[in-house]
Each structure stands twice: as structure tokens, then as C-alpha cells.
């Protein structure tokens, strides 16, 4: 077991290096350095050259790469070109805001989809199962922008049930602002989640031990809730852990439409202002985060299911 964990940890190192290399390649080699943004409309060539020097853009790439590694290790990504704020602080400020709506939405979507998946598994093959699957696929086929736009238009603009957009920190002021984003996030994610949990439940149902339980004369209900759900916990927990980094990043489109000042919104603004360092910092931080959570999932998995080994 320890052996597996150590090997898995070691295996993560080249991946981490790979992530830094790819990000660096994107932004420092392919990308370039729009310094004009920092100097404004009255900048001249000399000022731009001075700035390039000041920012270290004229140094050899290898040094720039080491600078980048240093930034990651010290969690100091400098200042945003556009807002002049410390990027690390922007990220620390933005993440909780994103969590304010992603977390409730995630929990609600998970509860609904797990409950529904149990029902679907209970009546598998029946009309309820079929209709649920069809609704899921249909729901997945609607573009996410359409959910957001229609939601905003009908619920907020036409019927005035929620504020059109905006965000106010603080409980309970926040509730009216996050209600619609939460509802839309739930609707957006439930199709995929439900499909996933249905597969998990059906997998479990076909296992031998379930057949044994049934042959012992246990009622279908007991089998479902006591055995199937219990054993499905492993994939469920794995799924939950792997989703966490995405909760932090939030949704780019949703935050932009609802004016929620989370990380997704920061990305949109950074794209609109060619704010390279912000995009770069977010890309690297969340790739590393994702990588770490991936590792956690695998270790977790190996703890509950000792059969797993690194191939």
C-alpha cells in the first residue's frame, strides 16, 4: 500500500513539470508580451522598450522559465496588467466568491442526482428510467449559454423573481443574488451527473454480492439502499473529490453574465484586456490543483479498494 502511494507520488512529479512547461510554452513562447496595456494610449517605443526590460521580457527563455517556477513556489505571480492588483490576492479573493454559488449548487445537484439514480436503478429498464435518460440527453444538448440567457431573461427580467445580475457578499443579502446562478448550475450539471450515477448504480446492481443478497430473500428496497448505495460510495466520493477544483474556478459564462466577481469572471476580463499574467496564473494554479486532487482520489481509492495498483 505505502509502496503504491509513494510510486503514485513520484509519478506526479513529471506531470507537474509537464504542466509548468506547457503553460510556459503557451504564454512566454507562443504568446508574447503586450506591454502596451500597461503604458496606455500615450506610450512610445522607448517607454515600451524600457518596460520590456523592467519586466524581464528580454531575458533568455530559460531564466524566464525559472522565474516562472519561482512564482509558482512562492505563490507570487506579480501584478495584473489591467487592475494592477496582486494576482495571488485576486485569486484568493475570487475563489470564495465562486464557491459561494458553486458549492451549494454542487451539493444540491449531487443530492438530486444520487436520489434519482437510485430510483432509476430501482425501476431500471422501465418507463421512468427511459424518460430520465431521454431528459438527461436532451438537457445536455441545450447550449449552456441558452440556459443562462433564458434564465436571466424570463426569471429575472420578465418575471422579476431575482435580481438580473450582481453580487453582494454577506448572508442573507447574498441569497437573492446567488439563487438564480445556483438553479442554473444545478440544471446544467444534473444531466451529466445523473447519467454518471446511473451507470455506477447499474454496475453495482449486476455485481455478484447483490445477487447473493437478493437470493437470501432481502427485499429489493433493502438491497438498493443498504448494499448498492453503500458500495457505490467509492465512485461517488471519487467523483466528488475530483470535482472540487472545478468548484473553485467557477463558471466563466455564468459569472460573466451575472456579474459575480469570482475567478471565472476574472478570466473573461483578463481575456478582454490581454492580461497575460492573470490567465497564466489561473491556468497553472488550477492545473496543479487538479493534479493534486487527482492524486488524492487515487490514493483514496487505493485505501478503500486495495486491489488497485499502479500499472
Amino acid at each position: 500500500m505505502m509502496n503504491y502511494i509513494i510510486r503514485r507520488l513520484l509519478y506526479t512529479i513529471p506531470i507537474l513539470i509537464g504542466i509548468t512547461l506547457i503553460t510556459f510554452f503557451f504564454f512566454n513562447v507562443v504568446g508574447g508580451d503586450p506591454v502596451s496595456i500597461m503604458l496606455g494610449k500615450h506610450a512610445n517605443a522607448q517607454m515600451i522598450a524600457d518596460m520590456r526590460h523592467e519586466m524581464g521580457f528580454d531575458r533568455p527563455l530559460i531564466w524566464q522559465y525559472f522565474d516562472f517556477l519561482k512564482q509558482i513556489v512562492t505563490f507570487d505571480f506579480g501584478r495584473s496588467y489591467a487592475s494592477k492588483q496582486l494576482i495571488s490576492k485576486m485569486i484568493l479573493d475570487g475563489a470564495p466568491v465562486s464557491l459561494c454559488y458553486t458549492l451549494p449548487a454542487f451539493v444540491i445537484a449531487m443530492l438530486i442526482s444520487i436520489s434519482l439514480s437510485l430510483l432509476v436503478a430501482f425501476w431500471r429498464g422501465g418507463w421512468f428510467d427511459k424518460i430520465t435518460v431521454i431528459i438527461c440527453v436532451a438537457g445536455l444538448s441545450v447550449p449552456s449559454l441558452a440556459y443562462i440567457l433564458f434564465g436571466q431573461y424570463w426569471f429575472a427580467y420578465k418575471w422579476g423573481m431575482f435580481p438580473i445580475s450582481g453580487f453582494q457578499p454577506g448572508f442573507p443579502e447574498m441569497i437573492s443574488y446567488i439563487a438564480l446562478p445556483v438553479i442554473i448550475t444545478v440544471v446544467l450539471s444534473i444531466g451529466g451527473e445523473l447519467r454518471f450515477y446511473r451507470t455506477v448504480m447499474l454496475d453495482e446492481i449486476h455485481q455478484d454480492y447483490i445477487r447473493t443478497a437478493r437470493s437470501k430473500g432481502l427485499s429489493e428496497r433493502v438491497v438498493m439502499f443498504k448494499h448498492v448505495l453503500k458500495n457505490a460510495m467509492i465512485p461517488i466520493i471519487t467523483n466528488v473529490v475530483i470535482e472540487i477544483p472545478f468548484l473553485v474556478t467557477g463558471s466563466i459564462l455564468l459569472e460573466n453574465f451575472f456579474g459575480i466577481p469570482g475567478l471565472g469572471n476574472q478570466i473573461v476580463e483578463a481575456i478582454n484586456t490581454s492580461d497575460f499574467p492573470v490567465i497564466k496564473a489561473q491556468t497553472i494554479i488550477f492545473s496543479l490543483l487538479y493534479c493534486v486532487f487527482n492524486l488524492l482520489t487515487d490514493i483514496l481509492y487505493s485505501l478503500v479498494d486495495p486491489r488497485v495498483s499502479l500499472k
Partner: protein, 295 residues
């Protein structure tokens, strides 16, 4: 070139597998209906490309923001800010989406298949490097990956396709590698080897046809992600330029809704919904038909 003459029985018959799958697929009436819808979109795209359809999308057919009306079919979905037909723009958008899907696939499929095959077949160092590469990429949030790449490459159709292709090959590569790992130990490959078939021959003539159904299944899902990504990138101003697309139409709708203009959003969403739903159903049906074991 003909294949190895001996041990024909033990070769899984690529031909009959396809035929079998096709028969199974044909029995699924709904999936066939969806397939015809997808083919219809493709046909529209080709006709648009040839300039036979929607070539006149930029012409004014009515007043600015006329609501949908019966009468001329150009006005079924009303007009946009310049009085252009929304339905023609939607058709043109289908062409854009189909093209993005196709070009992205043309990048992702060959790259994914070749790298996946090489990794699975040769193993060792090659496998290590390729596995490292795709694991690394799959660890980067796909949205951020595509956004960053489209952002640094500049705007437009080409960089959009490259960005999409560079992220989509990963899935194909992983699948193909897995299959190759299994297949290279199978008897028919070993037999071909003993008969002196070259590596290239074994990879492309023997194994590949037996795993190619995975590519087909993946194809439909790749199209879906291409269509969806086009919308997001266009919304962020990183998409196509100067021609209508579903993404730019939905983006325009963002402002139009405040003045009660909903038809551009409805047309683009509906067009997208129909094709994505069809692709989803066809994809599922293909998966069931070609590989009943896969979930």
C-alpha cells in the same frame, strides 16, 4: 495489398463487424432518424460552402429587428439589427459549426490515433513519453486549456480548430493506446508477426481496423464539444470573424433580449439543440451497436 492468407478464422472480421453493427443500428429507427438529421446538417454545410445556400445572408430582407412572421421563409425567424434574415444566418452558422467540428477532428483523430497506436504498440520509452504528454494535458482544465491556446494563437477559425484539436486528441489517444495494449498480445497479431509482417503493417493493417470503431464513436462526441466550444469562444470574442456563427448570434442576443428581441437566440439555440441531441443519440447508438461492452 491483401492480408495474411492463413488463420483467417481467427481474425476478427472487420467487415462483418461493421455489417453487424450497421444492421443493429438500422433496427434503431430513432437513431437512424437522428443520423439523417446530422447528415442533413452536413449537406447544408456543404451546400453553403459551395455557395448554393445562404450565400445571401448579408442582404437586407426586412426592417431592423422585425419579429418572426409567416410569409417568406426568410422571415420565419425575423431579422437582426441590420434587417438580415436570421434563418439564413442560422444556416450559415451550421456551416461554421460543422467546419469547426470537422477540422478539429482532422487534427485530433490522426494525432490521437498515431500517438495512441505508437504508445500501445511499442511500449517502453515511447509509451512513457506519450503517456506523460497526454496525462499532462488532461490535467489542465480543458476550458482553460482551449481558452489559453485560442487566446495566444489569436482569433479566428484556424486557431479555434487548432486549440480544440490539441485538447481533443488526448481522449482518443488514451482509448487507442488501451486497445493496442490488449490487441498486440492477441493471437491474430502474434500470427501476423510470426509470418514476418512489419510493425507498420501490423499497426495499420491488422490492429487499427479492429479498434477503428472507437474512433467513429468518438467522432460524434468530438463534434458536440466542437460545437459547444465554438459558442463559448465566440462569446468571449475569440471565435470566427466577420461571418455569422451560432456563437456570435447568441452573443448578440445578450443585448437584444433587453429590447425583447428573442428570435436570434431561439433560432441559434434550436439549431444547436437539434444537432447536438442528434449527435448524442447517434453516438450512443453507435456505441451500443459497435461495442456493446463499452459503457
Amino acid at each position: 495489398m491483401s492480408s495474411a492468407p492463413v488463420e483467417i478464422e481467427k481474425l476478427p472480421k472487420g467487415n462483418s463487424l461493421t455489417k453487424d453493427a450497421w444492421r443493429r443500428l438500422r433496427r434503431d429507427k430513432f437513431a437512424m432518424f437522428c443520423l439523417s438529421i446530422v447528415l442533413g446538417y452536413a449537406l447544408v454545410a456543404v451546400l453553403t460552402r459551395l455557395g448554393l445556400v445562404a450565400g445571401t445572408w448579408s442582404e437586407q430582407v426586412g426592417k431592423s429587428y422585425s419579429p418572426p412572421s409567416a410569409g417568406s421563409w426568410h422571415l420565419w425567424f425575423g431579422t437582426d439589427i441590420f434587417g438580415r434574415s436570421v434563418i439564413l444566418k442560422t444556416i450559415y452558422g451550421a456551416y461554421v459549426s460543422m467546419t469547426v467540428g470537422l477540422l478539429a477532428s482532422l487534427i485530433a483523430v490522426p494525432v490521437g490515433v498515431v500517438l495512441g497506436a505508437a504508445a500501445g504498440y511499442y511500449g517502453g520509452k515511447i509509451d512513457d513519453i506519450i503517456t506523460w504528454l497526454y496525462t499532462t494535458i488532461s490535467n489542465i482544465d480543458p476550458t482553460l486549456f482551449i481558452l489559453s491556446l485560442a487566446f495566444v494563437l489569436g482569433k479566428g477559425m484556424n486557431s479555434m480548430c487548432i486549440a480544440l484539436g490539441s485538447s481533443a486528441w488526448v481522449g482518443i489517444c488514451r482509448l487507442i493506446r488501451g486497445e493496442f495494449l490488449k490487441h498486440k498480445e492477441r493471437e491474430y497479431v502474434q500470427a501476423a508477426k510470426s509470418l514476418g509482417a512489419s510493425d507498420a503493417r501490423r499497426i495499420f493493417i491488422h490492429i487499427l481496423p479492429n479498434v477503428s470503431h472507437l474512433v467513429i464513436i468518438n467522432f460524434s462526441f468530438l463534434f458536440i464539444s466542437a460545437i459547444k466550444t465554438e459558442v463559448i469562444l465566440s462569446y468571449l470574442g475569440l471565435g470566427v470573424q466577420g461571418i455569422p456563427s451560432w456563437g456570435t448570434m447568441i452573443d448578440e442576443a445578450k443585448l437584444e433580449l433587453a429590447r425583447g428581441v428573442w428570435w436570434q437566440l431561439a433560432a441559434a439555440t434550436l439549431a444547436m439543440f437539434v444537432v447536438v441531441l442528434s449527435l448524442n443519440i447517434v453516438g450512443d447508438a453507435l456505441r451500443d451497436a459497435l461495442d456493446p461492452k463499452l459503457k
